[in-house]
Amino acid sequence: MTAQPTDIATYNFAYLDEQTKRMIRRAILKGIAIPGYQVPFASREMPMPYGWGTGGVQVTASIIGPDDVLKVIDQGADDTTNAVSIRAFFKKVANVAVTTETAKATIIQTRHRIPEHPLAAGQVLVYQVPIPEPLRFLEPRETETRKMHALEEYGLMHVKLYEDIARHGRIATTYAYPVKVEGRYVMDPSPTPKFDNPKMHNSPALQLFGAGREKRIYALPPFTEVVSLDFEDHPFEVQTFDQPCALCAAENVYLDEVILDDHGGHMFVCSDTDHCEKRREEGHRGHLAPETRLAPEKMEPAQ
């Protein structure tokens, strides 16, 4: 990285002004002190629409420093519009190094996935959260849900799981699967697939959640107990896939279905593009992988 302060143009470092960053950092610290508790904060207008990660971007902007290495993923992929734009945004306003490699990043901003590569101590995972309140669709009143959190009245959360089993014969919630943090607060892990829930438990990385439109920040400090809610006779289970990744033959990873043509052709590939590329570099081949091995530089547009 070559730090060239002149490149930052007319913006303050990392776009937000210093007072705003201090306000957001205070909310983050409070969130870390009370794991799973939703801390209200004065969310700012960002140069992007709500729903595109305004909460995550504000959290990232408040914690990023000139020496940080940023990775941004959208549904596990480094190369989708949202991920590319946010990466370019921070390159421009903070002049930081960016990467697609999970292990090299110090800050990973994510929409709806946790990387397959295990996170390490010192890394920060920043989630973009659309609706932070896990009780919202059961109880529309904010005054009431805050009271329910305060008094630890979480029976309603199980009513939702009960409904799932009554209707579908199993817990049909597959994403935004509610978790209990340190035996106290029930938390929405943002719309990550429930496949990723076990990765949140006792993670050595710091996990921060930002909801821009809803103006809430919450956090999981490293090594926090995160338990997915369930019934004794219907225990929590993650999704399983009956075939490996079509490109890198990885098993026990989260797969996306990719439509290949309009004749019903499809394949299942790793949702985590970085993980998939790494495995192909190591020589793992799935049954639909191209015969000639692609050079990884060609897969990813040059930064």
């Binding site: 009271k147 008094l151 009245e153 029976g155 309603l156 199980h158 009513v159 939702k160 009960y162 409904e163 089993i165 009554a166 209707r167 369930d230 019934f231 004794e232 006779d233 219907h234």
Partner: protein, 258 residues
């Protein structure tokens, strides 16, 4: 049997500004006893019920409740967490309009099971078995268990609301016009059901109603209210057969004879 009342109410008053909601109400409620509160609309019945069930805070006066451990606790000095816990375990509240007391968008089974899950039940099979049992006790077919209350008739909704309240085995149930808005044949079956349940479970209940026939059928004791004050109280049969206060005499003589 115990020789102490379940609920002691003393000089309870509620004012809305200078207007009287209810004034200086004093009574004891004994375990297994059904008390009817009657009076015309605006007489303070519902205000009194809401104060007793801690949904409203009174302006003055006290009410103490004998907890399961035998200790009396002053209701208005309990923390909100304790009151809400009491509300969903040891108490029930049957609203006049079932939509106020039910979750209309979740299934009947989940409506009945919600209180069980709220007190920590985490076994789906057991919760469902209890729900099935309670639905049959309030005469709702087992195959309606996964239907939403929106698909139920008014009488069924009211019976479902009763099941939902009784599933945790409460000792005290508040009812606000439980038969209001139902046609007479449905009313008769609901009253029959309520009478059976109250007797079987040894429930104490405070029933607010403007229908003297409901009071006669359900309650052992009644209080007649007018303009926020209790004008007469006593055994139900005594009050209805030999009303003493002029207002009670008017009320009793106003019953339509068919």
């Amino acid at each position: 049997m115990t020789d102490e009342p379940l609920l002691r109410v003393s000089a309870l008053s509620k004012f809305y500004g200078s207007r009287v909601g209810c004034e200086n109400v004093t009574f004891d409620l004994w375990p297994g006893e059904v008390l009817a509160v009657v009076g015309e609309s605006g007489s303070g019945k519902t205000t009194l019920l809401n104060c007793l069930s801690t949904r409203l805070l009174p302006s003055s006066g006290t009410a103490s409740y004998r907890m399961r451990d035998g200790q009396f606790r002053e209701l208005y000095r309990m923390s909100e967490a304790e009151r809400r816990f009491l509300m969903r375990t040891d108490w029930g509240f049957v609203h006049q309009n079932p939509a106020d007391g039910l979750r209309m968008t979740v299934s009947a089974g989940a409506n009945v099971g919600e209180r069980l899950m709220a007190v920590g039940d985490r076994h789906y099979g057991k919760i469902r078995a209890t729900a099935v049992d309670w639905l049959s006790r309030v005469e709702i077919d087992e195959d309606r268990i996964d239907d939403e209350p929106r698909a139920f008739s008014g009488g069924m909704r009211q019976r479902l609301q009763i099941a939902r309240n009784l599933v945790t085995g409460p000792r005290l149930v508040f009812m606000d016009e439980p038969t209001g808005g139902l046609d007479v044949s449905v009313q008769a079956r609901l009253l029959d059901l309520l009478r059976g349940l109250v007797t079987d479970l040894g429930l104490a209940a405070i029933v607010v109603t403007h229908d003297l026939a409901v009071a006669r059928l359900l309650s052992q004791r009644m209080m007649v209210m007018k303009d926020g004050r209790v004008v007469e109280s006593g055994l139900t049969d005594r009050v209805l057969d030999d009303p003493r206060a002029p207002y009670t005499q008017l009320l009793v003589s106003s019953i339509l004879q068919v």
